[in-house]
Subunit: 178 residues, 4 copies
DNA sequence: CATGAATGAGTCTTCATTCAT
DNA sequence: AATGAATGAAGACTCATTCAT
């Protein structure tokens, strides 16, 4: 029952969801009181997997910049394999407009505590060109998230992983010489 | 009838749309055979406005880098004033999943012919640090689009225009010293 | 659309109701926001008809006792022809248990103002054997209502109208000699 | 499992019924093949209790009129304490419309054999003012049943027992002098 | 041409009943 | 025997679309 994030999900009939899960419709409602609740659970599970995937990858290296890079690569690789999560994130906005803040951004905000210190370290080491670590982190986040969304909207593009190297390079050094 | 992109729109009741436009429901169907057709028209109109807004801004400056920067600023400023367009772009994906490619990316692709030459110029002038102008352009696009989407998902953030300067600075020079 | 009380109604499918009325399901919902609202409207309409039927009959005679008797006869005759109303009254209790007070009794209460004065008159004329006109009225009400309900629960009984004469006779003079 | 008539019952969830009885849902179905069967059993049990209560009370006195009066009082007192039974009687009509005849009237019919002889006795003793003992009995039944139902539909009324005396008085002697 | 009342396919959700443990 | 998780038929309600006026 925990594999909903795996399939496309979309604006699916509850019947379809049940069929997909190989259970009766009533059984779905035994676990989730509402279609929305089930959706939220799927989205949350996806976010948890993403978080774990990224943090695991980052844990393997020491240097702050290398850590960020590893996290960035892992993030894009995750969405290569689980494009459904991006769909869920977009669906949440489309269907539950009323929600104050998207779950994706709740998670992003919560994870600042992990990544911001890395940029602070870089700053302390005099390696940061820009003044505000906050902004640098946001920009990396925007590049990562924007890439993942773009990838979904544009079926023909190259895989996210293939572009990760070059995206991070531009994040690191910019496009203009000097 | 041409102002649909102006309001929040979302997945509105056809009745609401008609009321909003101050006409009868039947009249809407005289102009658009389908709710989807009406939606597409709204989205297309929004994209045209965005394109014009950005190109007008870029036309005012000469230097290729300055042109890109002006375009970037104009793009974000546009979405500050017309957040509905981002919603439409996301809704298209959410509701019309079956569509091969999103209208946003059709426009992006079509506009490459305008922006890519600028990067090529920069490269020819030896000002480009990265080898592939294509990739540089894509990255700028991802930063711009990612920012606009993020801004929608995260109600509390600063305005897009306020961040445009710093985002472009990082795009230009990166976050790391040397 | 005003004839719902005419048919059996029961715990009908909304589809059945629509079919019965010869309209589409959506049309029903155009007039009544809820199945419950439609039910209430039917019940209310039935009560209004009952009231009018009874008051019209009573208006034709002058003597207070004759008036009461005419009303009693009219009441039972009405339910002979519109047994559906009793069903609605019972259904209201069965289905909308939570409701504070049944519509039937709201109407009864409201109509006290019409009938009680008749009993008071009888009392003033020294024709009333019992002390409390209130109680006499309630008893007549209970006989009338009880007969109508019993008639519904017991399909084989004689028609209400056929028994009206004798019921009122007992109400008037009791069963015991002296 | 025999106490269903005791609680409010209404159209309860089978889950609720099982919980209320302190057993598993499956166990309920071991005893009653159907929710309807269980409902019928509850109703029947209630009717048996009512019958016993009334007959016990009547057995204590000898005179036919006193016997009827005792039975009448007992009947109303029973419903003061067990209003749930009236609900069940009404629910049977509301929910199982198809049933030929209500259980309440099957019992009433069966009990005629007990009460009718009393009225016949009164008639034989020359104490009955009306000609048909049958009708007199029916009228008493209607007053009793009508009172009990009215009491349910009209939460604010006085208790049934409090009115029993006066109701029987009117049944006995009528409201009009001479 | 413009309208909006009518339509009915499509969906979420409930709950009596079953049956593997 | 007892349980309660699983089932899926049934039903209230929505809303894009049509068409008579």
């Amino acid at each position: 029952m925990g594999v909903f994030a795996a399939n496309g999900y979309r604006l699916a009939d509850c019947q379809d969801i049940a069929d997909q899960a190989g259970v009766g419709k009533g059984t779905v409602y035994r676990h989730f009181s509402t279609k929305e609740a089930l959706f939220s659970a799927s989205l949350r599970e996806g976010m948890e997997q993403l978080r774990e995937h990224v943090e695991t990858a980052a844990a393997r290296v020491e240097d702050p910049l290398a850590k960020l890079k590893a996290a960035f690569h892992a993030y894009l690789a995750f969405f290569d394999e689980t494009p459904a999560l991006i769909e869920l994130i977009l669906l949440e906005r489309a269907e539950f407009r009323s929600l104050r803040t998207s779950m994706y951004f709740s998670y992003s905000e919560a994870d600042r505590g992990i990544w911001l210190p890395l940029l602070q370290q870089l700053k302390d080491q005099g390696r940061l060109r820009v003044d505000e670590p906050d902004l640098a982190l946001d920009t990396l986040g925007v590049i990562a998230f924007g890439s993942a969304v773009s990838d979904r909207l544009n079926a023909d593009g190259p895989s996210l992983s293939d572009r990760a190297e070059q995206l991070f390079d531009i994040f690191q050094s910019g496009v203009i010489r000097d």
